[in-house]
């Protein structure tokens, strides 16, 4: 072993017990993005803040993760870890803590680290560390965006199954003064981000594929119609072309289930009767009329679902007409000011999403975990990101724009047209909602199955009590500056999101339709569930 070591380090004749021990280590290199700009802005202040971050955050985090801070430079640090998992975990902790620290500051004075992590053989001395591995870590840090953690392929291989994060491959990168290109991955602390990323890419691919197929189909059509009968073909092609744009003709044999609809269908009917210009306009009008039909009544699950996604069971939805209502109340500071909001027509789930519905997503490997519990019970212990994964999957599987409701939509739906404290009046009544000291359900049976209590005037169940329900909006401590058009409020610090409804563990105050609470975006809690909404 000693010989190999010597051979690698190129030091012949030295005893293995020499003064420069080599070892394999995970090296973390971090530096502050735009340090000189920050120093220019406010030299003393920045210096103080950086020192404080190093003392309060960087050093304790490294120690907590069993690492060793090797050195700090003016604007950065280098640390080594025995374990790649700990190294990356430590980097994430530092980055996420900084997000919190920056939240209250204007953007130009944010202190953001760029962090690179590499696995390499290094020479360690008391106050410094040397070797290729260190240089690569420093280069990774150099190409990382502020607030990001970039890791090398070596680290990735070690941690990919151990650390639940998203990893986005950035391919092989040539880095300065290193001969071989380095494989680089970006760490996405929450897997949902990765999912979004991947889906975007998939969508682009699918789009390109469908465009190609469309061109081929168009070419074939052109060829078939033009070649055999010159003039008639011209005539016939006119009425044929409109249907190609419609995602219709469900009768056509569809080769690829995914995106079958748009492209090949028009070919078979037209080749079957290319000479008959008379009947053509009728089918082309009919689908158009059919397509227009679902628009005014968005909740009818009939037409668009049949052509795709055979097996996904859709949540039961209620279409709401929309309108204007007074949102908020004067009962709690977070619910002020009361403000008028106009809601567009939309549909919302009659019940919270159930364990059965959630597990279909889990079975499709699109949701993070398989839930245990009764099929009809509401899904619980989901984070906001989990809920978003579900809606993304449902929208994709059904090809319908499922999403989380906005906070305004939720309150509009929960009020059911009333302006009283509760939807049934101003007094608490037993048996109306599943809240603490409001029912005699045994604790062991909680959460009880969805729809066990009375529905509100809009025919919706469990809008208040039961499970807390995530909505799309970022948390804001009151309605100062809130949108009035019913859209979700997604600007500002988005580390926590809004939950509505209150749960079986909260008392009657929380059941009020105006009540609002917040919770960390990526954290699961045993009373948190959600329901879905659908745009028309």
């Amino acid at each position: 072993m000693g010989e190999i070591r010597d051979f690698k380090s190129g030091k012949h004749g030295e005893p293995p017990s020499g003064a420069t021990p080599r070892r394999l280590a995970a090296i973390v290199a971090g530096d502050i993005a735009g340090y000189s700009r920050l120093m220019e802005l406010d030299e003393e202040g920045t210096h103080g803040r950086v020192k404080r971050i190093e003392r309060d955050l960087v050093e304790p985090s490294i120690a907590e993760h069993h690492g060793r801070l090797v050195k700090t430079t003016g604007d950065g640090f280098i640390a080594i870890f025995d374990s790649p998992v700990e190294a990356v975990r430590c980097s994430i902790v530092i980055q996420q803590n900084l997000v919190g620290r920056n939240a209250s500051l204007p953007k130009h004075s944010w202190i953001e680290y760029r962090i690179g992590v590499n696995l390499g053989d290094v020479i360690i001395e008391t106050d410094d560390v040397y070797g290729d591995g260190v240089n690569v870590a420093a280069r990774l840090e150099g190409i990382a965006d502020p607030g990001q953690v970039y890791i090398s392929g070596g680290i990735y291989e070690q941690i990919k199954h151990k650390l639940v994060c998203g990893y986005e491959s950035l391919g092989d990168r040539k880095v300065k003064n290193i001969t071989d290109p380095v494989r680089v991955y970006r760490v996405l602390p929450d897997p949902a981000a990765f999912h979004r990323n991947r889906k975007r890419r998939e969508n682009i691919l699918i789009f390109l594929l469908s465009v190609t197929l469309l061109v081929i189909a168009g070419g074939a059509l052109w060829y078939m119609l033009l070649q055999p009968r010159g003039k008639v073909g011209d005539q016939a092609s006119a009425p044929i072309s409109p249907p190609t744009e419609l995602p219709k003709a469900p009768t056509a044999p569809a080769p690829a289930a995914k995106q079958a609809a748009p492209q090949p269908p028009p070919v078979p009917p037209s080749s079957a009767q290319p000479t008959a210009p008379q009947p053509q306009p009728i089918p082309s009008v009919a689908p158009a009329a059919k397509q227009a039909a679902p628009l005014p009544q968005p909740a009818s699950p009939a037409a668009p679902t049949t052509q795709s996604a055979p097996s996904v069971r859709e949540p039961e939805m209620s279409a709401l007409r929309g309108g204007s209502f007074a949102m908020g109340s004067n009962e709690d500071i977070s619910e002020k000011p009361v403000h008028q909001v106009t809601i567009k027509p939309f549909a919302i789930g009659k019940f919270p999403i159930t364990v059965r519905e959630w597990n279909e997503c889990a079975a499709a490997k699109a949701c993070g975990f398989t839930a245990t519990g009764k099929d009809d019970a509401p899904i619980t212990n989901v984070s906001w990101s989990d809920a978003k994964q579900y809606t993304a999957w449902l929208a994709e599987a059904t090809r319908r724009p499922y999403r989380l409701p906005s906070e305004a939509e939720w309150e509009y739906a929960a009020r059911g047209g009333t302006q009283t404290k509760y939807w049934w009046g101003d007094q608490l009544q037993p048996g109306m909602a599943n809240c603490k000291n409001c029912t005699d359900v045994a604790a062991a049976d909680q959460p009880v199955k969805v729809g066990s209590f009375k529905s509100n005037p809009f025919g919706l169940y469990d809008m208040g009590g039961g499970v807390d329900q995530w909505v799309e909006d970022c948390w804001h401590k009151n309605y100062q500056g809130a949108p009035v058009d019913g859209s979700p409020w997604v600007t500002g610090d988005c580390t926590s999101h809004v939950v509505r409804s209150g749960s079986w563990k909260n008392d009657a105050r929380y059941v009020r339709p105006a009540n609002r609470d917040s919770y960390d975006t990526n954290v699961r809690y045993p009373t948190h569930g959600f329901r879905v909404a659908l745009s028309p």
Binding site: G100, N522, Y525
Partner: protein
């Protein structure tokens, strides 16, 4: 070799089964939960940054099941005793910091309030015995 592997496997299994058990994890004997700021009896004007201190244990994200680690919860004006068999409640007086926060901006109406920290495990259960800070009083002007 085989025996060693088996032994390793059984150790891993034991560890795993231990960590799967949600409730009543012991905290290290010397762990201390405390307020870095404010101190007991402080009078504060307006909103303030409340800073949480933890010695001999680590702060992690809720859901991360590592030994000797947990996440902070701040109890505001809570007088009921904590039920160690239940997850720490989540409401307007039980604030959760499951993203691993070690400080928070707190806004309270003028008057006297009590604050207390409780450390929760990966599943939001208190440790056994519960690791809590001293219950402090602050006055908001």
């Amino acid at each position: 070799m085989k025996i060693a592997r088996l032994a390793l496997l059984s150790v891993a299994l034991v560890l795993l089964s231990n960590s799967a058990d949600a409730q009543g994890k012991p905290a290290p004997k010397d762990a201390v939960l405390y307020f870095v700021w404010p101190q007991n009896g402080t009078t504060i004007k307006g909103a303030f940054w409340c800073r949480f201190g933890l010695r001999n244990m680590g702060v992690t994200h809720a859901g991360d099941n590592f030994k000797n680690s947990g996440h902070h919860h701040l109890l505001v004006n809570v007088n009921e005793p904590l039920n160690p068999k239940e997850p720490i409640p989540s409401d307007k007086s039980h604030l959760h910091f499951g993203a691993g926060q070690t400080e928070a901006r707190i806004e309270l109406p003028p008057g006297k309030h009590t604050l207390q920290l409780v450390l929760g495990d990966a599943d939001h259960y208190p440790f056994d015995p519960p690791l809590v800070s001293e219950k402090i009083s602050v006055r908001i002007k």
